[in-house]
Symmetry: C2
Subunit: 371 residues, 2 copies
C-alpha cells in the first residue's frame, strides 16, 4: 500500500489570510506561512510533507497569490515551476482548484486531484494517508469524494457532513454516500450529531477525477467553467498565458467549492465520504490555537514564539510573542495576548471568534497598515 498513488495529484490552495488570527496572520503573512504548532515549520510546509508520500514530490500543485510566490518557493524548495499556480487576485476556492484541475487534466486526462487546505493542522499521518488512499479509490469510481473528520467532541465550530449509506468500493471499506451538508450547529444539535456517529466534520478536503470535478463546475457554474477552459488552453503556452490570465481571471465568479461542487453533487448522489480518524484542526481562531498548543493539559498557558519571555500566573489561554519584549500576565485566565511589532491584541478564548470584527473595524478606520 505504500508509495505514491497512481494518477493522483495533490492541489494545495494557499489563499486565505486567516483574519481571526490577526495580528499574527496578515495580508503579507497569511496563516499558512506561520508555524502554529511549534513544529519549527509553517503549516504550508507541513501540508506539503504530509502529501509527498502519497504523490511524490513532483505531483503537488500550489495555488497562491502572486505576492506569496517568493515565500512559497522558500518554504517549498522542491516545488516544480509547472506546479506553482499564481493568482493575480483571489477568486475563491472553486476558481483556484478548478484552474489546477483544468490545467492538470489537459496535461494528463486521467488525473485524480485531491485538494487540501494549506493552513490546517493534521496529526497521525498514517491515518491521514489511509483516508486519502480510500478517497482516491472512491474517486476512481466517478464520485466526488470528501474526507469527513470523525468528531472527537460535539463541536459547534465546524460544519457537518451527514452520511447516507455505505458504498461497496474495492480499497475503500469505509466509504459512504453523503446525504447532505449541515451548517455549524448549536450545542444541542452538535450533541445529537456526535451521539449519532453518522455525522462527520467538513474539513473541506475534496478528491475526484479532474474531469468529474470540471463536469460538476460545468453543470453548476457554466460561466466559471468556460473561463477555466480558456485559461487551461493558454496556460502551458508561455506567450499565451499572460494575456488570457489578465483578461479572464478577474472575471471568474467567486464561489466556494462547497457551494459550486460539493453540495450540488451531494444532492445528485454523486458525493461520497471517507471518514478521517486523524487529529484535525482548521485553527479557526486563537481559542483553537490555544487548545492546540496546550499540550493536552487543560490548565496550561500555551506559548507560541521562539524568543518568548513570559512571566505569568495564567492557568490557561495563549500568548503569541513575535517580539523580544518581556510579557507579564497577572491574574488573567483564558487570556489571549498576541504581541507583534506593530499591533497588540488582548482578548479571551471566549471572545476569540470576534477578532475578525476588529480586522473589519481597522479597515473601516483606515488602519490597513497593520492588516
Amino acid at each position: 500500500m505504500a508509495g505514491p498513488i497512481e494518477d493522483f495529484y495533490a492541489v494545495i490552495p494557499a489563499g486565505g489570510i486567516g483574519s481571526r488570527l490577526w495580528p499574527l496572520s496578515r495580508a503579507d503573512a497569511p496563516k499558512f506561512l506561520h508555524d502554529l504548532t511549534g513544529s519549527g515549520h509553517t503549516l504550508l510546509h507541513d501540508t506539503w510533507h504530509r502529501l509527498e508520500p502519497l504523490t511524490g514530490r513532483d505531483r503537488i500543485a500550489v495555488v497562491t497569490g502572486r505576492a506569496h510566490r517568493a515565500a512559497v518557493e522558500k518554504e517549498l524548495p522542491g516545488i516544480l515551476d509547472k506546479n506553482l499556480f499564481l493568482e493575480s487576485e483571489p477568486r475563491d476556492s472553486t476558481a483556484a482548484i478548478g484552474l489546477a484541475a483544468a490545467v492538470l487534466s489537459r496535461r494528463e486526462p486521467d488525473v485524480i486531484i485531491g485538494s487540501f487546505a494549506a493552513d490546517h493542522v493534521i496529526r497521525v499521518p498514517h491515518l491521514f494517508e489511509w483516508a486519502v488512499r480510500q478517497a482516491v479509490e472512491v474517486a476512481r469510481e466517478g464520485f466526488v469524494c470528501t474526507i469527513g473528520i470523525q468528531p472527537s467532541e460535539p463541536s459547534i465550530s465546524f460544519g457537518y457532513i451527514k452520511k447516507k449509506r455505505q458504498l461497496v468500493i474495492e480499497g475503500a471499506p469505509e466509504a459512504a454516500l453523503v446525504e447532505s451538508f449541515v451548517e455549524k450547529p448549536d450545542l444541542e444539535t452538535a450533541k445529537e450529531y456526535f451521539a449519532s456517529r453518522d455525522h462527520l466534520w467538513n474539513a473541506g478536503m475534496f478528491i475526484s477525477r479532474a474531469d468529474v470535478l470540471l463536469g460538476e463546475i460545468a453543470d453548476n457554474q457554466p460561466a466559471l467553467y468556460a473561463g477555466l477552459m480558456d485559461l487551461a488552453e493558454a496556460w502551458d503556452d508561455r506567450d499565451a498565458r499572460g494575456p488570457v490570465v489578465d483578461r479572464v481571471w478577474p472575471t471568474l465568479p467567486k464561489i466556494a467549492i462547497d457551494y459550486a461542487v460539493a453540495e450540488p453533487a451531494a444532492e445528485k448522489g454523486r458525493l461520497a465520504v471517507v471518514p478521517g480518524h486523524f487529529d484535525w484542526d482548521d485553527v479557526g481562531d486563537f481559542a483553537s490555537l490555544a487548545k492546540l498548543n496546550s499540550k493536552g493539559r487543560k490548565n496550561d498557558l500555551a506559548v507560541l514564539g521562539k524568543n518568548a519571555r513570559i512571566l505569568s500566573d495564567a492557568a490557561s489561554g495563549i500568548v503569541v510573542s513575535q517580539t523580544s519584549r518581556v510579557i507579564s500576565l497577572i491574574g488573567v485566565n483564558d487570556i489571549v495576548v498576541v504581541d507583534t511589532e506593530d499591533a497588540l491584541l488582548v482578548t479571551t478564548s471566549e471572545h476569540a471568534q470576534r477578532v475578525k470584527g476588529v480586522v473589519d473595524a481597522l479597515k473601516l478606520n483606515g488602519r490597513g497598515d497593520v492588516l
Copy 2:
C-alpha cells in the same frame, strides 16, 4: 493671605521608583517623571508648581538621586543649584528630608520646612494652599504638623491618622492633635473610620520647623542625626562636601520619616494634623491610575499615552501606551494593559497591587534590563 509664606521652604523628596506602576515606572524613569494625569506635565513638575505660590520659586528644594539630575533640571528649569540635593544612593525618607532640613537650618535658623512627595496627584490647589498655610502656623508653635486627607470613601489603600482634640492656634482653625497612626485597615474597619469623621488619610506630608524636625531625629535616631550634622557642616563648602558625602551618606540608617519622626512625635503629643479637603491620590497602582484617568465615569476605559491607537470594547480599566502600536481589546473588562518598548503588562484592576511581585520576580530571574 496670598503670597509666599514667611520662613517657609518646601522640600520635595523625589526618590521612589513606583514599582507597582511597572513597566511604566522604571529605575531610569521613576513615577515622578511621568505625566500620569494627562496634564501634559510630569508629577514632579505639577508638585513644584503647586508649591511655588506658597514659597516663591527660590525656596523649593528637591532631593533626588544623582542619576536623575538631568531629568529633574529639565523638568524644573527654575531650580537653583543650591536647592538641588543629590543622593549618591537611596537612604529612605528620613535621610533625604533630614539632609535638606539640616542644610537649610544652617543657612536660615528659623526655617520651616514642608516635605511633599514628588509623585502624588493633588487637585483643587486653593484647598491645598489653605491646608499648608494652616500647617505652617501650627509648625511655628513647635509642633510637627501633618496634612491628613479628609477621606472621600472608606479606602483600604491608605494608612490613617486618628485625631485627638482640636488645637487653638491662630491662623489654623482646623488644627488638631494627633492621637495615633493606624496601618491600612480592612474594609470593615475602614468603614468605621470613614463614619467616625476623626480619621484622615496619611498622605506623608510633614511641616515643621527644621530645628524641631532635627530634634525629633536626634531623639529617635541619634546615629542618623550625627551623620546629618556632619553632612550639613560640609555641604555648602565646595571642597568639603564630596568627601563627607562619600564617607557619611552610605552609612546613614534607612528609615521612613513616618517611623523616625511622625509616630514618636505623636506618642509624645507633639504631632498635629490639619485636614486636607482637596482631591489627593498617591497613584499607588494601575487601579488607582485607571480611576484617576476615567474622568469620573465609572464605565470608561482610561487611556494614557499621547500617540495611543486603541480599538476596544472594554468598558473599564486602563491602557497605557508608550509605543505607536495598535492596541486592540476584545471582551476584556477592568483590564490593565501597559505597552512599552521592551515590556508588556496585562493584568486587571483587581490584581494591580500584585505588580510589585512581578518586579521582584524579574529581578530574581536576571531580567533587570526591563526594570
